[in-house]
């Protein structure tokens, strides 16, 4: 490690005070939705398990999914999956240098954020 990397550098990372451009919002939402999706994995496998075990447990799952808390979680899940998918596709294009210019990157980030919100809205209409 050279001398420069050992020097104390100023760190200013108060996210609440930094104005977030649209690309940063797409990025942090990709991370937050990813963590939420990770936390939902055990619930999803449990739901799959119960839904395939027997007719009775299937009906129980359907009834549980109709509760207000489940509906809220389903909307969050729909937004997370949709935003993570759209933002992920955007990152795959950025990986191969497509859309890396500032204007294009800002436009695609805005599209991703709007599409994610749109899916959340559709999920809301579907479950409520």
């Amino acid at each position: 490690m050279n001398k420069n990397t050992l020097q104390k550098r100023p760190v200013y990372l108060n996210l609440l005070k930094i104005r977030q451009p649209v690309t940063a919002l797409a990025s942090i939402a990709h991370r937050i939705s990813g963590v939420f999706l990770f936390l939902s994995i055990p619930c999803l496998i449990w739901l799959l398990d119960q839904s395939l075990t027997s007719e009775a447990s299937y009906e129980t799952v359907i009834a549980q999914l109709a509760s207000p808390v489940s509906k809220l979680l389903l909307i969050a899940l729909a937004w997370s999956a949709a935003h993570h998918l759209f933002a992920g596709i955007r990152f795959l294009f950025l990986d191969v240098d497509v859309g890396v210019e500032l204007a294009a990157a800002r436009r695609s980030a805005l599209i991703v954020n709007v599409l994610g919100a749109l899916v959340a809205l559709m999920a809301m209409v579907a479950v409520l």
Binding site: R31, G34, V35, L37, F38, I41, P42, I45, L48, D49, S51, L52, T53, S54, E55, Y58, E59, A81, L85, G88, I89, L92, D95
Partner: protein, 112 residues
């Protein structure tokens, strides 16, 4: 970035699993929209056909590889204590393996 290094492998696992999950998800949602399974018998019949059970089990395995790289990145970014980060990553690895085995049991071994 060195080809063959662990960072390159993680990067590649992330992308390959992402593409598989995206394709499966599009197939799954499209299948649902075209003809949503009606009731338990219909749903169980769809999920228990070997190609669908295999594709879904592969989806969960891809998801666990994907979650490993993503959550590892998150832990590396935010957990500064080496001991705590190591403990969390070990817990993460075992949890993901247990979840993978559970998904495989549900889809390919149990119930059906």
């Amino acid at each position: 970035m060195s080809i063959g290094g662990s960072g390159y492998k993680a990067w590649l696992i992330q992308r390959v699993s992402a593409v598989y999950m995206a394709l499966f998800l599009i197939y799954f949602v499209a299948g649902w929209l075209v003809c949503a399974p009606q009731g338990f018998a219909d749903w169980a019949a769809w999920m228990s056909s070997l190609p669908m059970a295999l594709a879904t089990a592969m989806f969960f395995i891809a998801m666990l590889g994907h979650a490993w790289v993503g959550m590892r990145d998150v832990l590396i970014d935010y957990v500064k204590s080496t001991a705590l980060r190591f403990a969390l990553m070990a817990g993460l690895a075992f949890s993901l393996m247990a979840l993978g085995l559970w998904a495989v049991k549900v889809l390919l071994v149990g119930n059906l």
